[in-house]
């Protein structure tokens, strides 16, 4: 065992294509407050992305994956694994990943699977893809983090539980837009947030989700990867963290020594809400949309239950022209139709009609 705890592939790998997806509907947090706190209550700032009636994790993953493929400019049959991480897979039994693989043409020589680890299911799939390609078992693997998150009507989660995510094609470093310099995972049994089988809405431990959960795991995962890599906050151009709200990632970034300018480009939660398994990953696509070559990025996810995956990325020249081949994250964000609570309730299937 090496001195540090980093996860080390047998060969260098990177991101050869990436794609975001954010649905077009927006529910302002003030609209949720209007319904549940009263007309005169000044609600929290921000809004969240809401999926349309015909959208789910399968359709959103397909679009994000197509964007990743467009940027990678590869034949989809090169993809040997399709892994989708989410906590809102449309089927209880029947993989999301098989539909995505079929739709993007990555069948049949494919290992397909769905991942589940609350909000870090997507980075978990990415971690596995690094191993799959890094071991030499495959040349290209697709990892997706996508969610259409649930929040109980009137509950605290309803203000932010959003929809969206991102897809990443992992391949060898020589063809990458972004190389992966290091990765690490940190896990304990911490029941801060969960949803029992067959329940519609999750439960959460309120303030217990903070210190012993989010902050402990994110900080540990960031500390380990930065120290083991001999890097400090100022060595990074950008940092992106799981963002259940704006407060948590802002506070953890500050404690790790990052300044707001490093955090801001990837902090999308005020505009699209918490996209759960897509949260850190779609923050990263927004960064990749604007980063220059040879810039370092720190990403740390967090999944309740609980664990964090941390990654250090470094951009290459390839990123600059390839990123033009698919819509930028901000294009999806600016494609905005505001809805009221009634429409939201309908879109989210909260109206009982049968």
């Amino acid at each position: 065992m090496p001195e540090d705890k980093l996860l080390r592939p047998n060969r260098d790998v990177g991101i050869i294509g990436y794609g975001a997806y954010i649905p077009r509907y927006r529910l302002p947090a003030s609209e949720v407050a209007r319904i549940w706190k009263g007309e005169n209550f000044k609600g929290p700032p921000g809004e969240k992305a809401v999926a349309g009636l015909d959208e789910d994790v399968i359709t959103m993953s397909i679009e994000a994956s197509r964007n990743a493929l467009a940027r990678a400019a590869i034949d989809p049959t090169e993809i040997r694994a399709v892994w989708v991480g989410s906590e809102s897979h449309p089927y209880a039994v029947k993989p999301t990943s098989t539909v995505v693989a079929e739709a993007i043409g990555a069948v049949p020589n494919t290992l397909a699977a769905d991942w589940q680890f609350a909000c870090k299911a997507g980075t978990e799939a990415m971690q596995a893809a690094i191993g799959f390609v890094g071991s030499g078992m495959a040349e290209v693997a697709l990892s997706v983090g996508m969610d259409k998150a649930q929040g109980r009507p009137g509950g605290a989660l309803e203000y932010t539980a959003g929809a969206g995510g991102a897809a990443y094609l992992i391949g060898t470093a020589d063809r990458s837009l972004v190389t992966i310099e290091a990765s690490y995972s940190f896990t304990t049994d911490t029941p801060d947030f969960f949803r029992r089988a067959n329940e519609k809405y999750p439960e959460h431990g309120e303030r217990f989700t903070g210190e012993p959960a989010y902050f402990k795991h994110v900080t540990a995962a960031a500390d380990e990867i930065m120290q083991s890599s001999g890097l400090k906050a100022e060595d990074f151009a950008f940092a992106v963290f799981h963002q259940p709200n704006a407060k948590f990632p802002t506070r953890v970034a500050r404690s790790l020594g990052f300044i707001p300018e490093q955090l801001k480009p990837g902090l999308l939660v005020p505009m699209i809400g918490n996209t759960y398994a897509g949260s850190a990953l779609v923050g990263l696509t927004a960064i990749l949309d604007i980063a220059r070559p040879d810039e370092r990025i720190l990403m740390v996810s967090y999944g309740s239950g609980a664990g964090s995956d941390s990654f250090i990325f470094k951009t290459t020249e390839n990123l600059i022209h390839r990123r033009e081949l698919a819509p930028a994250t901000l294009e999806y964000i600016s494609r905005r139709t505001e809805i009221d609570y009634a429409t939201y309730a309908r879109y989210r299937g909260k109206l009982v009609s049968k």
């Binding site: 349309g52 015909d54 399968i58 819509p327 139709t337």
Partner: protein
């Protein structure tokens, strides 16, 4: 409950995979195996770009079984840039009015579910093209 009839069309429906005639290069969608243009066998697969324009459209108020939860929705005839015409729903229109000639692009969306317990059926729909 229906399963196989939707499964067998997955490639066409998810990704707009049609056919091209090896004889006259006519692009075919929906696939029909015999070229409508020259009458030759045409079974070579062809991946359509997904770009097209609205040829005609209307809004369905009174939906058939399985589509009630989506009503009202817009159905349209879409002229694909490669030539063929198809029937599909428009989606993600936001508050934008539809018009004949409007450029649209294909997305894969949920068409309907086969009842409460049946399979989810996915397929092509079209939306206003996203700038890129």
């Amino acid at each position: 409950m229906e399963i196989s009839r939707h499964w067998r069309l997955a490639k066409q429906r998810y990704a707009l995979v049609g056919e091209v005639c090896p004889n006259c290069e006519h692009k075919i969608f929906p696939p029909r195996d015999i070229c409508p243009d020259c009458g030759e066998e045409a079974q070579d697969l062809y991946q359509f770009s997904g770009r097209g324009e609205v040829y005609s459209y209307t809004q369905v108020q009174q939906a058939p079984t399985g589509f009630e939860e989506y009503a009202p929705y817009t159905v349209a005839l879409i002229k694909l840039e490669e030539g063929p015409m198809l029937t599909a729903q428009l989606t993600d229109m936001g508050k934008r009015p539809v018009s004949i000639g409007m450029p649209v692009e294909m997305v894969t969306r949920k068409l309907r579910s086969d009842g409460e317990r049946g399979m989810l059926i996915y397929g092509y729909k079209f939306r206003p093209a996203i700038a890129s």
